[in-house]
Amino acid sequence: MTQLVSLLTNAIVFGTVILYGALGEIVTEKSGNLNLGVPGIMYLGGIAGLAAAFFYEMHAAAPIGWVGLVISFLAAVAASMLGGLVYAFLTITLRANQNVTGLTLTIFGAGLANLFGGSLNALAGGVGQISVAVTSRAYRAYSHTLSGLGWVGQLLFSFGFMAYLAIALALLANWFLNRSRVGLNLRAVGEDPATADAAGVNVTRYKYLATCVGAGVSGLGGLYYAMDYIKGTWSTDGTIEALGWLAVALVIFATWRPARAIWSAYLFGVLYWAYNYISGLSRASIELFKMLPYIVTILVLVAVSLRRSKEAQPPKSLGLSYFREER
């Protein structure tokens, strides 16, 4: 039982990182933009939040946790939306190829984040690794009375607030895309921009907003990773990039549905951590275990294309830029 609870708690923490990434990407892809810059955006969000908290803690005489939290949260959202804006400007206004632009954004974001993550402390005149203990503690705060309620409390109440925010955002996105007028317009843009345009929807504005807001949400994944998952430090081992691609995989696995992304994300977490709870695995076979989420994603991708069910398809104009004169 304790084994199972600990596996599930780890899976939820892991799942939350990619859930943010995937939610942002779902909103973006629903507008027809396939943004392969998700890893880069998550990097931008992570480093911006970390750097903001770092400078706050360095300059404030007695840093207060929640102030650092607000500052870093805003910085993360702003930086990742800026990343989305670059992508949006290049692909929507300048009609650059989406795949290439997205990959470039990933290279750029990863470079920028690791450059500052690795040398921020040195640039600021400090030594050793960057660390924002006070802010990180605020991110990880939870109610000890509630989480003390046996394994139920452990499973439901032992996480920082961002784990719950992710679920709330997923439900909100689900409502938005299926029930609200704006959300339905957005989906029309992603399916067939020419028709949406003819119906009076401002395609360019929808694409811009969806891409930037989506990037802002994706970036939160990086922030959660930096502040909660690795407790307010930085490591240049490329984990965020791997998680970012996993978030792209999650979008497919959840067949572009935000509500389904919630449990799918936790399932990915279970698949990812399962090797820790199976005894007698060699280090080599652990590596094989880690490919499970990707294999499952491919199976879903193939199954979706086999079934041809209308509900589960990618947005029809995904990856194509829209130019009114070329309909």
Partner: protein, 368 residues
């Protein structure tokens, strides 16, 4: 007069003279270098001119450095050449990273298991064949599903990368030498069995020669053969291709086998000809960078030479700056990113004309 005429009017150009197109690209490159200089200045407070001098020093400062630049550029070029046929077919092969790693793993396996049994020539032949096959298999799997059920190839090839990465991690753990080091180490260090030999005393000359030969061959294949023609027709319009009696499915699978094979061969060159070891950094993101190389060159393999050299130059240069100023190597990715953003944006001004309201009216009068 129509009051609702938008301020900016955008129209597709019929095509720009080649030298004007290159002027646009050159201007955007210069702008990008200025922005990068500004960025580097803001964190190092160093004179930008000196920065670029230092970058030049890092890439071409000595014969050894120049050869390493040539070696890395040729590997990047090789992957780009492999991607060219797939992209020309509008098949988004973002799986070069995985195809290259599978080729690299195949080569490493041959060197490790047959290292003592075969002569170097036999080893090289065998590992080249095996790595080509491994890369081709990795390319054909998504192509088969694309051809048969129209499965999204961008997402499929992307996922295949990570399976290849985990297979590589698995093999590294399996072959690790010495135990506990979590790396394979230099394979056949004493005997140098299965290493690409030096040509005229130059260690990496053979790598460059092989890749340049491939570059020429691919150019000819795409431009002058029936296969190349079929690829471009499928890329333009699958319906036209079908109408013309081209078997679209066969072309997709065949072209991706070729694309994966060349990417696999780049893994062979990277292992047998450069690092003599295998790890995930054998590819190290170059499979993704090459996508940009191939796309920017518009499938022209000769243009790829220039772009690959430029990117590797930037990388080596930024590494040099980073080590001089105690930053980390990631500075090179930032500079690469900035330059690619500008180059991607510049294509717009090559393909479209932008006219402002008052301008456009005058122009229309002139044209009328």
């Amino acid at each position: 007069m129509n009051n609702h005429e938008p301020l900016i009017h955008i129209a597709r150009r019929d095509g720009l003279v080649w030298w004007r197109a290159w002027c646009v690209r050159l201007v955007s490159l210069i702008l990008a270098l200025l922005v990068s200089a500004l960025f580097i200045y803001s964190i190092t407070k160093l004179n930008p001119a000196k920065v670029y001098a230092a970058m030049w020093e890092g890439a071409f400062g000595s014969a050894r450095r120049a050869w390493i630049t040539a070696r890395d550029a040729s590997i990047l070029l090789c992957i780009g050449v492999g991607l060219a046929p797939a992209f020309m077919m509008r098949f988004w092969n973002v799986g070069a990273e995985g195809q290259m790693l599978m080729g690299g793993c195949a080569t490493a396996a041959v060197l490790i298991y047959c290292g003592g049994a075969l002569s170097t020539f036999q080893l090289l032949l065998l590992s080249a064949v095996v790595s080509v096959a491994a890369g081709a298999v990795w390319g054909v799997i998504p192509a088969f599903f694309k051809a048969r059920w129209n499965t999204n190839e961008t997402l499929f090839t992307l996922m295949m990368n990570y399976i290849a990465i985990q297979i590589t991690c698995f093999l590294v753990a399996l072959w690790e030498n010495p135990k506990g080091s979590n790396s394979v180490g230099v394979i056949n260090q004493q005997t140098q069995a299965g290493w690409l030999p030096a040509l005229f005393g130059k260690q990496y000359l053979l790598n460059v020669v092989i890749v340049l030969a491939l570059t020429v061959a691919m150019y000819l294949y795409l431009k002058y053969t029936k296969h190349g023609y079929e690829i471009s027709v499928v890329g333009e319009s699958e319906n036209t291709a079908r109408y013309a009696g081209i078997s679209v499915k066969r072309v997709i699978v065949r072209t991706m086998a070729l694309s994966g094979a060349v990417c696999g061969l780049s893994g062979f060159i990277a292992v047998a000809g450069a690092s003599h070891t295998i790890s995930t950094s054998t590819a190290g993101g170059r499979g993704f960078t090459a996508i940009i190389v191939a796309w920017m060159a518009k499938f022209n393999t000769f243009v790829m030479i220039v772009i690959a050299l430029l990117l590797v130059f930037l990388e080596k240069g930024a590494v040099q700056i980073a080590s001089q100023f105690h930053l980390n190597d990631y500075a090179s990715d930032v500079v690469t990113g900035i330059i690619l953003f500008f180059l991607l944006g510049s294509e717009f001004f090559i393909q479209y004309t932008v006219r402002f309201r008052s301008h456009s009216q005058k122009n229309e009068e002139v044209e009328a």
